[in-house]
Amino acid sequence: METLIAGAIDVALALAVVGLAWGALASADLFKAIVLFVAFGLVMALVWVRLNAPDVALAEAAIGAGVTGALLLAAYAKLRAASPDANVARAGGMRGIGSISIRILILLLAAALGCAVWTLPSDYAGLGKEVAANIDRSGVSNPVTAVLLNFRGYDTLLEVMVLLLALMGTWSVGATAPQRETAPGPVLDSLSRLLAPLLILVAAYLLWVGAHAPGGAFQAGAVLAAAGVMLLLSGWRLPAALAALPLRLALAAGPATFLLLAVITVLLEGRLLQLPPLWAGRLILIIETTATISIGATLIALFLGAPPGKEDRQ
């Protein structure tokens, strides 16, 4: 009985995910597309839970609910401000023979992908055993954190670099359209005053809990970013004194610590990011703390768009 109901939940969630994605990509109205996409992210978090991936669910929840929606809606507002008829974009899709042949090709591809997924062997051990066998030497007991920061630390190193690169790209494009905002008002003011400290607290909690349970630097960084986004939406601006050097230090802390550690481990242990088991726990905590600050700061800066002080507002 229980497996049956659980199966029904799985079927309903999978259908909902596909339906929401379809709706988001097919809707004529751009705003509707964005709202459907936000809802899609929300349901994806439930799917991760059902697939037994609570770490991923946390990341999806924090990024999807805290950053993506605000990012898309702010971009939508700027887009409409820059070109008022930008919403009328249903015209100009591919037409005629091109459209039909594209559809046939996509259907063929979908069938091929479905076949490929279907015929995969249903019992494949993966790397779970290796992770479990070495977890004692990783310094943490949550296997996902162990993979992210110890066994495959180079992935995470590259990942924080990609974040920094994305921000450099964003800053080098320069300021975009000026943005209009409605007045914040007392309700929003008190809401952000209440939420921002709580968000920072929860970010710290997720960072700490990540050592032995779902959580970690990415989730904590995303929650931290949400705190910043919330404050920015309530009319707060980074004080000028913090906008220059302190902001850059926060942005660079994670990548710099990570790079330093990579160099040291290559010199001492002979292999990139091979953490000595005795020190691994403490080193991971240091990387994670700095990475959390940098990920949070980078995502906030990405939401802001132009470098603080350079954004031209009305």
């Binding site: 079927v11 995910v17 988001a24 990509l25 751009l30 597309a33 996409f37 899609f40 059902r50 697939l51 037994n52 991936a53 991923v56 999806e60 990024i63 950053v67 990012l71 898309l72 971009a75 939508y76 887009l79 820059a82 070109s83 974009a89 100009g92 899709g93 591919m94 594209i102 996509i106 591809l109 979908a110 992908l113 479905g114 997924v117 995969l120 062997p121 019992d123 494949y124 993966g126 790397l127 779970g128 055993k129 296997p143 996902v144 162990a146 993979v147 495959r152 992935d155 995470t156 974040l163 790209g169 494009v173 320069g174 975009t176 359209a177 990415f218 995303a222 995502l299 990405l302 939401f303």
Partner: protein, 105 residues
């Protein structure tokens, strides 16, 4: 068939829907959403494949990759949105300049 395979099929479906939207729409914001949907499809297949080891705890390596992927995707989305806004400010519309005859919408 286990639930995981059903999710994997849904992932393949998401990828296909996203690819179609990426090719069929000219508006850049829709293309950005489409790429995100494609990415989610890939993540879904990865996570579904991670449950194949037959024990309660799935393979953590794909999970770590998905988390990295989610964060990279949001950063890339932010960059893409800024580029789109810049293009709109320059040309007045959020579409890539056409190669030939196609009239402006």
């Amino acid at each position: 068939m286990s639930a995981a395979f059903f999710y994997a099929l849904a992932g393949a479906g998401l990828f296909s829907i996203g690819l179609h939207a990426l090719l069929a729409h000219r508006h850049l914001l829709r293309k950005i959403l489409a790429i995100n949907v494609m990415g989610s499809g890939v993540f879904l297949v990865l996570a579904a494949m991670a449950t194949r080891n037959g024990i309660a705890i799935p393979d953590p390596v794909p999970h770590a990759m998905i988390i990295t992927g989610i964060v990279v995707a949001v950063a890339a989305t932010a960059l893409a949105l800024v580029l789109m806004l810049k293009l709109t400010a320059e040309t007045g519309q959020a579409v890539l300049p056409g190669r030939k005859k196609e009239d402006n919408p």
